[in-house]
Amino acid sequence: MTTPTQKTTTNAKPITFNPEMATRKLSEFWRGLENGKIYASKCRKCGTLSFPPVADCSRCMSSDPEWIEIEGEGEIETFTKIMIRPKNFADHSPYTVAVAKMKEGVKVLASITVPDEGKLKIGAKIKLITKKAEAGSTYEFTLQ
């Protein structure tokens, strides 16, 4: 004979957040993506090139960026293939994310399309391209 197990937990009332993220100060960057261009920011005062781009320079504290287009050539520095995905990516197939050093000197972290896993290695040449998506334009790597 089995005895019914007594429930010893209860759930709190659920709560959901999806905070708004401001895009105003980097609007040139986001507009660039829509037009197929990827920009790094360059501080007009101290010359620091930044990616991800910044409106305010963390080196000299000035707030006067210019926009430098990243042509897209780079080399893989490291990568991983994400097998166990987070909740918001649960319906994606496993995906690969890499960090690449771009010709301009900045580094970029992005997803990478990998048609042939044998060619995915540190030092491999990649191209950084923009990508249209329903939720807004983004960017990704392709293996060269």
Partner: protein
Amino acid sequence: MVTSVNRVAIVGVGHSKFGDRRDVTLPELGFEATKPAFEDAGLTPRDIDFVSVGISGVWYEDFLPAVVVSEYSGLAGKGLMRCEAACASGSAAVTSAYNMVRTGASKATVAIGIEKMIGVEPLTMMEVIGRAGYYLWEFHNFGMTFPGYYAMHATQHFHRFGTTDKQLAAVAVKSHKYGSMNSNAHFQKPITINDHLTSRVVAWPLKLYDCCPVSDGAAAVILASEDLARSLTDSPVWIDGIGISSDTANMSKRPDYIGLQASVTAAQQAYRMSNITPNQLDIANVHDCFTIAEIMAYEDLGFCEKGKGGPFVEDGQTEMGGKIPVNLDGGLKSKGHPLGATGVSMMVELTRQLRKQAGKRQAAVKNGLALAHNVGGTGHYCYVTVLRS
């Protein structure tokens, strides 16, 4: 008025069972750590001036979990602070409690580290912790995960130094061996190299047995000024050196992925403050949230040369009786990693080791020096603490 700088001693330690603790509420879990800590110190909550609670989670039903935990342990009315430094929140709490005694503002303080994680659905937890980088540039479009961040380090460490899967497995086997001897550990079962090598890939090249579990648990330490400590015990353990550092939120803004710069910087500060070198340490607890993290920690803390961490563990140098025994409580990997509890748990373990109360897991104590290395995120925060008996 600050007249002099006070030495600070650990005079009481307490530790709950780590693991699936859905049998208790958050404050009930905290009580399992505070009660034995008070008993160990020979003090009561009335003797305490200040409480710091290391807790990282944003998923609790309570918005003020530190207050709920503090009240339940009889500490309402005391100075109170919630400390958050991701997986290093426990060390942040110890640092705050230490500072209050160090400056003379308090005579006796308690640092409580606590977390409950298992009641949250697993892929939601993977999501929350995957946001432990820079959400907008790494998670929003690319879905990075916490194992993924350390996997990127493993990929580069393998490439640069020839570190192998089998060396990662050696870390896991060691952790589970000692975890099996720790009655407070989440996992108390030894594993084999083959169990590791055949486990599923979580974020290539890291497998399931490279990853610490999601756990519930609590730990507490009671700190006292020198005069109070000497009146309470013949075996105070002194907090002798502290180093704290941090790094960029964006992984792409770091120069390389073969170690954590925050660990290097924090360790240098702590060694300088204690005026010691790493080869004087009797024992260490390092932040092995992933096996590759333990290998990088050996190197970043100066236990071995950069790039030699893999052979170092494979040769048994971090076993009991080795050059420096590491994580003889099973580490995060086997003892479990309730985020806010971890840093305090390290202090509990190392205090017991320095008091020679660690039973069959006891390391040889020659110099009376132990080191705790507690990382938050992927080197986003790092706290290194040197204890001296």
